[in-house]
Amino acid sequence: MAQVVLKDLNKKYDEVHAVKDVNLNVLDKEFIVLVGPSGCGKSTTLRMIAGLEEISAGEIHIGNRVVNDLPPKDRDIAMVFQNYALYPHMTVYDNMAFGLKMRKFPKAEIQKRVQDAAEILGIQELLKRKPRQLSGGQRQRVAVGRAIVRHPQVFLFDEPLSNLDAKLRVQMRVELKRLHDRLETTAIYVTHDQVEAMTLGDRVVVMKDGWIQQVGEPLELYGRPRNRFVAGFIGSPAMNFMDTTISDGGSALWIECQGLRLKVPADRSARLAGKKGQPVVLGIRPEDLHPATGADPADLICEAVIDVVEPLGSEILLDVKVGNNVIVTRVDPSVRVKQHDKIRLAFNPERIHFFDTKTEESLL
């Protein structure tokens, strides 16, 4: 049980600055997820915590120790790799026992711990098999089992589910979450899949180009993204963005672009007052647009033409054209529409986001 602290962490390869000034405080027993597109530095950060990459600058604390110069074996961590990394020449039992044997645990203790872990993961019948005789999901369990027998201070997961098929991935995701609740061990989990990040993480760290973009609880990231990147990365389908201009309509501010003229909600006006006459990026999530009814105020409605209809069963995604912009909206399956229909869409005023055109920072 330990907290992990990253202080001004940097990683530079010859020409690439992969991780830039990362500061992060992972609390004891917390499940934290690093998420971002490929090449954002998330895996490198994890590998530095594991001791598999050297640290160019900064400090890593695990528990009360600075571990910068400790070899991986002395950091009291366990890691699960994307390709499982099971030792092909050993049985499942030996795979799981390897770490304990290396640490010279007594045989009885090893046996007990392996049995316990196998029971938790439901792989007791597989202990005598070799890895090549296992399915993808079974290998994944063995890899997790190998990590938990050691009772380490910290679990590190490097995209552990991305080699599984979609159905199994959802199942293992739930199991990992349950496992974490049961073991109460600090866990750091790297993924490029924002759904995994949102569902697993107590807190989520969004990274891009080596920088941390935002750290927060899943719903906080979703509801109040700090910049345009986070807003676009978290959520599926992604948030819609439109280049608009703020204009002064006397009593209120208006957002304008071709085919769209909306009144800025009163509570947002103060923050946007300085942007009069300037371009801003408007962001709206697909579910925050709905077919307009009589109850919606006229100044929050726009006209759109339906381009593509994607029925998903529980909902329908509509790709619609508003002026030059194509945006996506998520509507109830009871809505009957077809391609090229005209539709009036109302904006949910509390859920409109504004981003600076240049810095892409949120203006809220």
Binding site: A50, G51, L52, P71, P72, K73, R75, I77, A78, M79, F81, Q82, N83, Y84, A85, L86, Y87, P88, H89, F98, G99, M102, R103, P131, R132, R146, R150, L156
Partner: protein, 283 residues
Amino acid sequence: MVIERRWKKWVFFYVPLTLFLVGMLFPFYWMFITAVRPDAELYRSWRNLHNTPFWTLHPTLDHLKDLLARTMFPRWLWNTFFIATVSTGISLFCGLLAGYALARLKFPMAGTLGTAIFVTYLVPPTLLFIPLANIIRDFQLGDTPWALILTYPTFLIPFCTWLLMGYFKTIPKELEECARVDGATRLGAMAWIIFPIAVPGILSAGIFAFTLSWNEFIYALVFISSPERKTVPVGVVSELIRGDIYFWGQLMTGALLGSVPVALVYSFFVEYYVAGLTGSVKG
């Protein structure tokens, strides 16, 4: 359609395969038939009415007895075996460490070093034996097995290094990283995880190295002069050809016995050896 396909299979598969096999195996057959042919038949004129060059009706073991009793062939066999084993051992050890380092460790000039090692393999022994002879003389190793044991690695180490480097690169590095996180040192991860997985590669490097030293001719010819210290390839040629007299029966028996161990080694390990060359490790 089916008939046409069968016809094509014959022309493009069976016929070339048969020709290839006959071409490959005929020398061995010739070696064998000469080894058991009595002298009277061996030295008979080709135009003789009863000449049967491709078979014999009076097989004999005289040449074998003669070879074992009247030459130092058993001694040569032992010499060859000893020299090939020790030099293969040395080369495998060096090749393992060097191949691992080149495949896994990051250090300056790693790529250049790898290429340099490969280039040394390309230097022909027919040139290299001249400076090597000098060195052998300076260290007073001439006419001892050590002259060969220490010179064979000049071509065996680059060979083993490259073969093993290629093999190590096919082993996912996560296996090793996982072992290090699990509690092994780098050397421990090498010994417990990487080497056991690399057994096919190590075996094929070993077999190749062993065969290369077993068959080596020029260094053995130059550095060894006493008959009792010779290796099979040199001994057979230098002691069984006297001037322009060829003891064909003994020569061929010697060649046959000399190639048997190599053939045995290959046939025992053929599966490993194929896996070693094609690299097939899954994590």
